[in-house]
């Protein structure tokens, strides 16, 4: 609440964030360059499949960012329940929002790749199932948050839901995997693990590292902005209440 004491104070996070944005932007340019130009072709693939393979860097990068969002939601929720400080809740909510965007990108990029590689946009592979369920949980979480008027109640209830969601996701993965491994393979090429896989060469490995770092930086840049927005929102709300009195 120190921000409330002096509302006219200039935002000390403005400049560091600006620098961070520029770094994240440059990192993303590097990711695009490395993914599209620098990385070598997958030697064991040909034609359309070889071109589609380059979406892999984008896919894994988004996946890292979505994973960070998911972890952030749990850390923020547990942090809130222990400390009861609203700032933790804002981190959790911002993580979910940014994580959802990347989660949807993971699903989209995966589907685009899967059509040439697996000859289908979608299959109920354990990873696909888990990713979809996780994105749906994220969306439910955001809808849930919308329906509360009281900030503390919202933070408490959203935290409880986020912890439950976190627990169910690994179990979803294991049950989906068990479902697949026992289930008969229905069509030729039903064994996803064998389809469209490729050997990773040196340039490809480097590109993967660049993509991971680049997307992580982008995630944090967006996250910091969203948290700052939440902070500003809370401050406006508090000032309005003070004004009404």
């Amino acid at each position: 609440m120190s921000t409330l004491a002096n509302p006219s104070r200039t935002d000390r996070w403005f400049k560091p964030l600006l620098v961070f944005d520029v770094i994240a932007g440059l990192a993303m340019v590097t990711v695009m360059w490395a993914g599209l130009l620098y990385a070598g072709d997958a030697v064991n693939l040909a034609g359309e499949e070889q071109a589609a393979q380059r979406i892999f860097y984008f896919h894994i990068g988004s996946n890292i960012a979505a994973l960070l969002g998911f972890l952030g939601s749990v850390v923020g929720s547990i942090g809130y329940l222990f400390s009861r400080r609203m700032v933790w809740d804002r981190w959790a909510a911002a993580s979910v929002e940014i994580g959802t965007i990347f989660g949807i990108l993971v699903l989209l990029s995966g589907s685009i790749w899967a059509k040439p590689a697996w000859n289908t946009y979608w299959t109920w592979d354990p990873r696909l199932t888990t990713a979809t369920i996780t994105v749906l949980i994220y969306i439910a979480y955001m809808l849930f948050r919308n329906g509360f008027d009281h900030a503390q109640t919202r933070a408490r209830f959203a935290s409880v839901y986020a912890i439950f969601a976190f627990l169910s996701v690994p179990l979803t993965y294991y049950s989906a995997r068990l479902f697949r491994s026992i289930h008969p393979i229905v069509f030729d090429g039903g064994n996803e693990e064998a389809q469209g896989s490729f050997a990773i060469g040196p340039t490809m490995g480097q590109t993967l590292t660049i993509a991971t770092i680049g997307f992580a930086l982008l995630f944090f840049a967006l996250l910091f902005h969203r948290v700052r927005q939440f902070d500003a929102e809370a401050r406006i709300e508090a000032l309005r209440e003070r004004f009404d009195e």
Partner: protein, 282 residues
Amino acid sequence: MNYDPDTCIIWRVRIVIPTEERARGCCRALAGGLVWGPHAMMTELSGAEGVTHREGGIGAYLRHVWAVAEKDVRAEMRSKEVVGTMAAYSVLSAVVFGLAFDLRVPRAELVAPGILWVIVLFAGVLGLHRSFGSEVDRGTLAGLLLAPVERSAIYLGKVAANLLYFLIVEALVVPALLILFDVNLVKPIVLLGLLLGTIGYVGVGTLVAALTSRNRARETLLPVLLLPVLAPLFISGVGLTSVIVDGRADAEAWPWLGIIGLYDALVFAVAFLLVDVVWENS
């Protein structure tokens, strides 16, 4: 029964209530807004008499759970709004699935496991949202929470009552599927999986229902929140039922039961820890 009408101990704080009328109001709130005669009130309280000390070990705790569950079941026996709706909806869904898949699916065994669990999943949501919805509508939730018992006992009491409703409905669905699809689901492992799955479902469902009861969009939001969290239970339930319906070796069903059991254990452990958070300062 050591009930003193002039005092009522609420949540560790001894409050002296001046008139007998006030005490009666307090008890009425405890009884969930039902209309009780003075005698019935006393009986209700005697079920929760250890409460006045907030001690008394596991026996007293179980009595509190029982008191809440009994209150819910008694209210349900009078209003019949939950089980009746769930049962009608379940049978209706079975008929709709029958119409949808008739002539399109070569063998009903292929879809029966999925149909069973979809019906349980969707019918359950109907019942769960009334569990706290009716309390909120009548304004009796605050009264229930004022009862000097552990919050987890209230939660477990609600779970017990909901579990009973679910089991009654499932006892109707399984024969309905036998008649409509000619698929016999009355096999020990399927029933065990159904029981364990229902326990986990009710455990998580009751908590999420408590969460949504304070939300503006509670009726519409409950399924959206609940269904993705129930994914492991649903997948395992369908997997387990398929193993038995396909006539494969029983041993293949054990991993599924393991996942369901693990889910149940996790849900109750976490719900037990978090239920105080849900109802604090309310």
